[in-house]
């Protein structure tokens, strides 16, 4: 089932484009990571999904329904974790649960209690007395305790210590084991996504610069290192985001086999991380990265492996 469909969405703040023709599709049961630098449009995109921000043009569909229609019903199926805590700070956890219980049709008290225990959240203390990590964990507990089918997280691990971040990733991993959970996570801490993302979208300047599946990354992408003399030859556009230093160059390739065939041992290839993907796709120094205005696709083809074939999955 298609959980989220974003078609050519644009949003301007005054004259500046925050989103410039973004298209994304996400099917049930997958994790999509949206990465990009600060100001790339990640938060605006997530807010647009929840209609906290009104889009100028395009269309957003949630569970097959336009996001501004049946708003209440669709929000009931979404768990949203904001970048910052916007929780009601004067109250305690028990009062917050009462409000959520009244708001959601499928509030799961047992699930919430389990998360509260697991996250060691003090039930009697007012939320304003919680640390930043506690507030984030509470937000996650709320988002995961009402049988949400789509969980949207905006920088969930920003400002958290490594232990809490790891715990958060573990929780997401466990939730993924449940059949109908779909995650959309925007972050600039790309290492969080390395373990869990089925799809990665690189967003910059309000545009999708690149989109890949996890298996595409493993099969086709690599971080290449070699002497600068290699660059003097015809590289046939194999490298993107080339950075040079006194020892040689580093670049990203999406044509692993071609590079191996063409350059052999002259170029050393390593597994590319999501950070490599982002840094070299958005590189603003060295050779210009290939800006091909790709649009993301996460098609329901049974497994993420088949979601796209080379650039075939790109609109």
């Amino acid at each position: 089932m298609r959980v989220l469909e974003i078609e050519n969405v644009t949003k301007h703040y005054r004259k500046k484009a925050a989103l410039a023709g973004v298209s994304i599709e996400l099917d049930e049961g997958y994790v999509m990571g949206i990465v990009g630098p600060n100001g790339a449009g990640k938060t605006t995109l997530l807010k647009a999904i929840l209609n906290l921000v009104r889009i100028d043009s395009g269309r957003i569909s949630l569970f097959g329904t336009r996001h501004i229609d049946a708003e209440r019903a669709t929000r009931d199926r979404i768990g949203f974790v904001h970048e910052e805590s916007y929780l009601y700070e004067p109250i305690n956890l028990g009062d917050l649960e009462r409000i959520c219980r009244a708001a959601y049709t499928q509030w799961n008290r047992q699930s919430f209690r389990n998360y509260v225990d697991r996250f060691e959240l003090p039930p009697k203390r007012r939320i304003k007395e919680y640390s930043k990590g506690m507030k984030m964990r509470l937000s996650v507990a709320v988002a995961l305790s009402h049988e949400a089918e789509l969980i949207v997280m905006d920088e969930p691990s920003s400002g958290l210590d490594p232990l809490v971040r790891r715990e958060l990733i573990d929780v997401i991993g466990e939730e993924l084991a449940r059949e109908n959970r779909t995650f959309l996570i925007a972050t600039h801490i790309t290492s969080d996504l390395d373990r869990i993302a089925d799809y990665v979208v690189v967003l910059d300047g309000g545009q999708v610069r690149l989109s890949v599946t996890r298996d595409e990354m493993a099969d086709n992408y690599a971080l290449c290192k070699g002497g600068t003399e290699v660059l003097a030859r015809d590289t046939n556009g194999c490298f993107r985001g080339v950075s040079r230093n006194e020892f040689g160059f580093t670049a990203l390739t999406s044509e692993r086999q071609e590079v191996a065939k063409r350059f052999g041992d002259e170029v050393v290839m390593e597994r590319a991380t999501i950070e490599d993907l982002m840094v070299h796709t958005l590189a603003r120094t060295g050779e210009s990265p290939r800006r091909d205005g790709l649009q993301i696709v996460a098609r329901d083809t049974g497994t993420p492996e088949g979601a796209s074939d080379g650039d075939g999955g790109v609109q």
């Binding site: 703040y13 807010k47 929840l50 209609n51 906290l52 921000v53 009104r54 708003e71 209440r72 019903a73 929000r75 009931d76 979404i78 949203f80 904001h82 910052e84 916007y86 929780l87 009601y88 700070e89 004067p90 109250i91 009062d95 009462r98 409000i99 959520c100 009244a102 708001a103 959601y104 049709t105």
Partner: protein, 226 residues
């Protein structure tokens, strides 16, 4: 709507309890006081004050952009607007009930508590005051709770300026040389007219302002980026 009202009550629990407690004390003390020139008017104004204390408390409780969390729950923007206006109505009812009970019903001469003779017209005045003050809610929905503070400060400031300027102007224009308060002059206009007519006109003005405020709030909040 249930979740919204529950949120208002729980978030404001301390201020609602304190507000209710202090308002009871305040009304009771007024009941004991004597030699008040216009007790019914004071009760009416106090009723408005109590009602607005709760509404403003609710607006203040939304600091920290909590409306973003509210709107990530299954609550629409229209419901959020309805919730705030409903709260204003409920707090008016509470303020009016306090005023009616202490000013009109409760009279225990044994302990010196006398009825202040609150009547239907005074209750109409409370309603009018509450309705007129809902005029500030569109500012809240457009600019947030901080703007309401500035709005109130500005309102109070303008009131003081009007009072002083009015006193000067009216004193200079009065041949007898007696200082006249601007608000005395303003209330004097009502004093000389038919009270039923005056209060009904005030309620009608209030209802008009409230209706415009509601429509404006709805228009603003359903279009605003959060």
């Amino acid at each position: 709507m249930k979740a919204l009202l529950l949120k208002e009550i729980l978030v404001q629990k301390p201020s609602v309890i304190l507000g209710a407690f202090y308002s009871l004390i305040f009304f009771a003390l007024l009941g004991l006081a004597r030699d008040i020139e216009n007790p019914a008017m004071i009760y009416a104004l106090s009723g408005i004050g109590v009602g607005w204390m709760i509404t403003l408390g609710s607006i203040g409780g939304d600091r920290g952009n909590t409306h973003r969390f509210t709107l990530s729950l299954p609550i629409t923007r229209a419901q959020a607007v309805n919730g705030k206006f409903l709260l204003a109505v409920l707090s008016t009812v509470y303020g009016t009930a306090c005023a009616a009970f202490f000013g009109g019903v409760l009279a225990i001469p044994a302990i010196g508590f006398v009825s202040r003779g609150i009547n239907g017209l005074d209750l109409l005045r409370i309603t009018a005051g509450m309705l007129i003050l809902t005029g500030m809610l569109p500012f809240y929905f457009r600019f947030g709770h901080m703007m309401i503070r500035y709005f109130l400060f500005t309102l109070v400031g303008l009131g003081i300026v009007a009072q002083v300027a009015g006193m000067i102007a009216l004193t200079l224009s009065s041949r007898g040389g007696r200082s006249i308060s601007f608000f005395d002059w303003l209330f004097g206009l009502f004093r000389n007219s038919d009270p039923i007519h005056t209060n009904l006109v005030l309620v009608a003005i209030g209802a008009g302002i409230c209706a415009i405020a509601y429509l404006a709030s709805m228009l603003i909040y359903t279009r605003r980026d959060l």
